[in-house]
Structure formats: C-alpha cells, structure tokens
C-alpha cells in the first residue's frame, strides 16, 4: 500500500483525541461542571490566599472577639478576634492538600495492594488481605493517632497517617472489582495476544474498575479532612495558630450555642469541597465510560 498518507475519511483520533472526547462528554454534564467550578474557586483561593484574604490568618484583635458577621468581618471573628473569613481562606491550603494528598496516597498504595491481591489470588491474596484486615480492625482514627504519634506532629506526617489509615478500604474495593473483571474473556484475550501481567493489570483491569474507586475516593477526601481535624484537635496534627478547617470546626465547637458562625463557615467550606468533588467525580466516572456515551 503506497497510499498510507492518504488516510481514510475517518482517520483515527488517537490518545489525545480520546482525552478531548472525555472532556467533551464531561462538558455536557452541567452538574459536573458546577462541581468543577466550585473546586476551581476553592483551589484558586487556596493558591492566592495571601492576596484574597482580607487579614493575615493569625492577626488577633482582642477587642473584637466573637463579633457577629459584619461588613468588616464577613464571617465574623473567633475567640481571639481573628477574622474567620481569612482563616477559612488560609485554611483551605492545608485542608485541601491534606484531603487530596492523603487520599491520593492511599488510592495508589491501596489500589496497588488490592490489584495485586485480586489478580494473583491464592497465597499472595491471603497474606495481603489478612494484613489489611489487621489494619481495618483498628479504628481508623486510633490507627492514625498511633502513626502520627510515632512519626511526630507535622503536615506531612499527618497526611501519611491519614493516608495509611484509609489504605485497607481502597484495597478491598479494588480487589473486589479486579476479581469480577479478571475472569472476563477480554482478559484472556489479552493473555492470548501475549500481554504480560503488568499490561493486563494497568491497561485492561484498572480502567475497568475506575468507577468504584472514583466514588470511594471523592467521599474519602471528606473523611480525610475530618480525620486530620480530629488529629489536630488532640494536638497531633497541625499546630495552632496555623488555620485548618477541621481544627477551626473543633475549636468552635465549645462556643456553638452562642457563636454558631465560628463552626458554620469552616463547616460550609468542607461541605462545598465534598459536594463539588462528588458531582465532579460522578460526572468524570460517566465521561470516562465509553458505554454511556450514546445514552445522552
């Protein structure tokens, strides 16, 4: 064939084309786009916190403690007279990075453990999953406490602790979907083509168990932020006065009867993050699945 360059009318799109295709499908989902917008705003404020926040996060104004939301302090002030809006904005940096990095860490590690356990089965499966069961038998928060206690307080250690403590959940989910997929004929077909284990796992199995991973990890971000907050509360996480949503939430808890706005605004920040993530996650799951393309 000498007319290799004279491509047929329907030249294939290739990898780039498929990414565009996913984006095109995602764009059609309004809810997902709203979620994306919320997240974009949150990330932008986190990045530009120093420019956006009206006050430095730790500036105290002891004459103005517990002030009700007003024009000067849109979200009010806390027990030290610090501007809650500024603290929410600065706090987003820590909370978002804890949330996303911890979840990312546990999805990667947990997913890999689950995939290996599910794919190879037998003894490997037994050893890995019994170890996961041991981790799971310890309450997540307790596990995180012991890890961070051993490593010492600090942002990174906090993320690692939160991450490790949620590994078993992801491992189980991924293992279950791998088990359901590995006996499909297309896996056998891949083997018949000569594919090795790694290629089968990453090209044929993992993409087909994305849906439960996406759902679980969007919910996981919320849990991670709250676990981090719990650790901060008992002094093992972020040290005051560094602002962090979870810490603000628990700090305001004592005053909730009289000064509800101290907990409301950091709480709302968490709610919006999770909401945005959830709808975006759902949309992404659908957009990534070519089978759902025609149903829209």
């Amino acid at each position: 064939m000498n007319d290799a360059n004279a491509k047929p009318a329907a030249a294939r799109r290739g990898r780039k084309g498929r990414v565009l295709e996913v984006w095109r499908r995602l764009k059609r989902n309004r809810l997902a786009m709203a979620g994306l917008a919320i997240l974009a705003v949150l990330f932008l404020t986190a990045l530009l916190a120093d420019l956006v926040a009206p006050f430095p996060s730790d500036k105290q104004d002891l004459e103005n403690t517990f002030s009700f939301p007003s024009r000067a302090h849109l979200f009010g002030t806390d027990e030290f007279g610090r501007d809650i809006l500024s603290r929410v904005i600065h706090g987003s940096r820590i909370s978002l990075s804890v949330g996303f990095l911890a979840v990312g860490f546990s999805v990667v590690i947990g997913g890999a453990i689950g995939a290996v356990a599910g794919f190879y089965g037998k003894r490997i499966d037994n050893v890995l999953m019994r170890f996961m069961d041991v981790l799971m038998s310890i309450p997540q928060i307790l596990l995180a406490i012991s890890i961070v206690a051993a490593l010492g307080p600090g942002l990174w250690n906090l993320m690692i602790a939160v991450g490790i403590s949620s590994i078993p959940g992801y491992a189980r989910i991924v293992r279950a979907s791998v088990l359901s997929i590995k006996d499909r004929e297309y896996i056998e077909a891949a083997r018949a083509a000569g594919s090795g284990d790694a290629r089968i796992i990453f090209r044929h199995i993992v993409p087909n168990c994305l849906a439960p991973i996406i759902v679980q990890s969007t919910l996981g971000v919320a849990t991670a932020i709250l676990t981090a907050a719990g650790l901060s509360f008992i002094g093992l996480g972020i040290q005051p006065p560094t602002p962090e949503w979870g810490a603000m939430l628990s700090g305001g808890r004592g005053y909730i009867r009289d000064y509800w706005y101290m907990t409301l605004f950091p709480g709302l920040a968490i709610v919006f993050t999770i909401l945005g993530l959830n709808v975006l996650g759902d949309g992404l799951r659908d957009a990534l699945d070519p089978r759902l393309k025609s149903s829209r």
Partner: protein
C-alpha cells in the same frame, strides 16, 4: 502424521475444587494437519473449551504435550511462548465480554501488534489495522467506535481481526458463532471459510452445535467428559457414527427434515460430574449397550478404519445389533 501442524498428546488438565479434583481434560490425543479444520464438539462441561485454552496455555496443562511443528509448546520459556503466541491465536465465543469495553476498535485490533512490538512506527501499525479491518469486512468508519456501539456480528469481526492482526497460522475458534443470530452466524461462518482459503489458516473449531461443525470441518472429534470418544472425517461421522454417544448426539439435533432421521435416541439422565470420575468408560452410565467390561476398563481411542478412531469396547458389536 508428518504433515501435522499441531499434535496433542495425552493432554490433561485438572482443576482443584473444594469437592475434589475436577478432570476437565483427561488424556486427549489428536493432530491437526496444516490448512485443515478440526471440529471439536461436545456438550457443556465436556472439556472442549478447556482443550482449546490448554493448547494455547491460557490454562496451563497439567500434563501431556502440545507439539507445534514438532516443538513442545508446554515447555517453552515465557519469552519463547510470547513469540509463539503470534502464530497461535484464538477467537472467543462471546463478542460482548471478549472485547475490553473501554477501548475503541482501532486499539482493540492493534493491541496484539503493540504487545508483540510488531511495528516500530505508528503509521505502519495503523496501516495494518486498516488492512485487517478490510479483510474481515469491517467498515473503515468504525475505527473509533466502541464495542458496545456495534452489533454482535461486527463485534465478532473485531474479535477475528484482533486474532488475525499478528498473522497467525493456527487459530482456535471457541464457539465463535454461538452467541449470534442465525443470519449473522451464516455471515461469520462464510467469512471464516473465506479467510481460511485466502490466508491458508489452520482451525480448531470448537462448538456444541454439530450442524455448524459439520458445515465447517474437514475432520471432527467428539468429546465427552474430558475424553475424545470418536474422531473421524466429517462425512463418515454423520453417515455412520460409531460411538453410542455420537449416535445419540446426532439424533438429538432438531432438524428441519425430521423425516430423514433414521432413529431417535433420547439419552437418559445428565452428564455425570467430572469431579473424581469413576474408572471405566465415561459414557457407560447412559449407554444403552453397556456391558460389564465398560464400567471396569477405560476404552482407549483406537484406529478402526482409515482415519477413523473410536473409544468404545464394543463399537463393532453395535453395528451388528443395529443390523438385526
């Protein structure tokens, strides 16, 4: 049998189950000549699909040899086996579950090419994909479609294109038309016959449907509970089936011309469990001619005429009985 492309000798595959050892294939011998189609028929659970997969080492055989041009496939190192896979391919039964739903047609067909690094450059690979698609009658415009967007017939064509992309010599067809409607089934059967002529392929055609097997095969092997009970050229097996099971199987097939059927044999009971099977002839529990020896001694597959093999102690006595 010097002209045999593939020779299977004493092939066994046992699976461990909670209830005991499952003898999926229990000593199977046959040879396939270059360019021919060997049909492998049997009912579900008889081990016919496992045989196809054991030959390709998709299930690692428990024992026995698979000689491909004299070379024992079961002993190849992983690297040599990978190279061997280019010459031995498989088409699966269910075109719905045998295609990764997340990949478009072009990627599905190119997958074996990439795994085996057949082409160094993308344009060559794309050219090969386009050529194979044309070969199996897939329209070029479908190149970016996903399997779920296509009908069963087109999906099965993708399965065939995928198998043929690496230019194999030998293809295992595992119930390739069982999941398809009759009209589509006919299209695919004709396509496979045409491809065999064009490319000189050798087929192992596995099916539960004797009519389909008869239509495509040069020789036919009938399997029952992990063993081959009869093997012969496609005509004699239909004209004069020797094994009692083959006879029953033939008479059970609904035909549009029931008046041409000689005799209708309805077998009693079900296929017994392949887990820890009892010694003796596997069929003896349902056989209407069984004698004492059948339960005690396993009949071997032996040649009883030119190219005709049967595993039955009393096959010749059966003929006399029917003659009376």
């Amino acid at each position: 049998m010097s002209e045999a492309l593939l020779e299977v000798k004493g092939l066994k595959k046992h699976f461990e189950t909670k209830k005991g050892m499952l003898h999926a294939i229990d000593g199977v011998d046959f040879a396939i000549r270059e360019g021919e189609t060997l049909g492998l028929v049997g009912e579900s659970g008889c081990g016919k699909s496992t045989t196809g997969r054991a030959i390709l080492r998709l299930h690692e055989p428990s024992s026995g040899q698979v000689l491909y041009r004299g070379e024992d496939v079961t002993r190849l190192s992983p690297a040599r086996m990978k190279a061997m896979r280019r010459r031995m391919q498989i088409v699966f039964q269910d075109p719905y579950s045998s295609l990764n739903p997340r990949l478009p047609v072009a990627e599905l067909i190119a997958e074996p090419l990439r795994v085996n690094r057949v082409y160094a450059r993308k344009p060559e690979e794309a050219e090969r994909v386009a050529a194979v698609m044309e070969l199996v009658g897939l329209e070029a415009r479908l190149i970016d479609s996903y399997p779920h967007e296509l009908d069963g017939g087109r999906r099965q064509r993708i399965g065939i294109a995928r198998a043929l992309s690496v230019e194999p010599e030998f293809v295992v067809l595992d119930e390739p038309v069982s999941a398809l409607d009759v009209c589509i089934q006919a299209q695919i059967l004709n396509l496979m016959a045409e491809l065999q002529r064009k490319l000189g392929l050798t087929y192992l055609f596995i099916s539960h449907n004797l009519s389909v097997v008869k239509h495509v095969s040069d020789r036919i092997a009938v399997m029952y509970l992990g063993k081959i009970v009869e093997l012969s050229d496609y005509k004699s097996i239909f004209v004069e089936p020797l094994h009692p099971y083959t006879q029953a199987l033939l008479s059970a097939i609904p035909t549009t011309r029931p008046e041409r059927r000689k005799e209708r044999i309805i077998l009693e009971g079900d296929v017994p469990s392949p887990i820890e099977p009892s010694p003796g002839c596997r069929f003896c529990g349902r056989c209407r001619y069984r004698r004492e020896r059948c339960a005690a001694e396993t009949p071997e597959l032996r040649e009883v005429g030119a190219g005709r093999f049967v595993a039955c102690h009393y096959y010749d006595a059966l003929g006399e009985k029917k003659g009376n």
